[in-house]
């Protein structure tokens, strides 16, 4: 597959249901009550249960795995910040774009802006990834 600067990554929307959050807690072992316990979460600064930041990031990496199936897991890097919480029940938009392609001694490396937006358009996760191209 040929990649060019300015190419949009596949992206997708997905609802972050409480069921997904519960499954993620089981998979990761992260049972922080801010994700699981409605009464506890109501007492926090967020006032309600929020999804694990890593769950949102996992969706972003799924997009990278779709767009770069042979190389994301073999030389991929990412750096993100979690800028807003995703509330249980929200539908998020996963997005990305190739912003640069650099020739290195290891081959071509694509730099991508990546992120996860909340329904109101604010970024829940935002950052950058670099991925070797085939």
């Amino acid at each position: 597959m040929t990649h060019s600067i300015g190419d949009k990554l596949s992206g997708f929307k997905r609802e972050i249901t409480q069921e997904r959050v519960n499954s993620y807690a089981e998979a990761s072992g992260d049972h922080n009550p801010i994700h699981l316990d409605a009464a506890y979460a109501a007492s926090t600064q967020f006032g309600t249960r929020i999804a694990h930041g890593m769950l949102s990031l996992a969706l972003v990496t799924e997009m990278l795995a779709i767009d770069f199936p042979k190389t994301w897991h073999s030389g991929g890097n990412l750096k993100v910040r979690f800028s807003a919480p995703v509330i249980s029940g929200e539908t998020v938009k996963i997005y990305g774009e190739i912003t640069d392609i650099t020739k290195t001694n290891l081959g071509l490396i694509a730099t991508c802006s990546i992120g996860c937006k909340k329904p109101d358009g604010t970024n829940a996760v935002v950052g950058q990834a670099t991925v070797p191209l085939e």
């Binding site: 997708f12 992260d30 979690f82």
Partner: protein, 118 residues
């Protein structure tokens, strides 16, 4: 640590959608990062005593796919620990190596602990 097929199935249930890629007999690297981070943060006591923690930032690098059930050694270190206002910023760096001690990945996680509740 070893990620079992049961854990992978739970992870897929949490993340997956109709367009999700088939990883075959490998696992998404982020499962390893998530499980290692949970264990390390637990060891640091950041989930105990009602502490309010927020995951603020994450870096991940991966060298090769890891197979489901493959044994991986995750070695973490506290690389940052500072206080600003009512928040403590903790950075945990983890190196992931296979049974031959070959590095397969690394991660760096920044966690904010609200010290008002500690």
């Amino acid at each position: 640590m070893t990620i079992s097929s049961d854990t992978v199935n739970l992870y897929t249930k949490a993340i997956g959608g109709g367009e999700s890629p088939d990883y075959g007999d490998s696992q998404a690297p982020l499962i390893l990062v998530a499980v290692a981070l949970t264990k390390l943060i637990d060891e640091l006591g950041l989930f105990s005593g009602g502490l309010q923690t927020i995951h603020a930032g994450q870096e991940v690098s991966w060298t090769r796919p890891v197979k489901i059930g493959e044994k991986i050694y995750a070695r973490g270190k506290l690389s940052g620990n500072s206080v600003r206002g009512n928040n403590r910023f903790v950075t945990v760096k983890v190196s992931y190596n296979d049974e031959t001690r070959t590095k397969v990945g690394s991660s760096s996680s920044t966690i904010i602990v609200n010290t008002e509740h500690s």
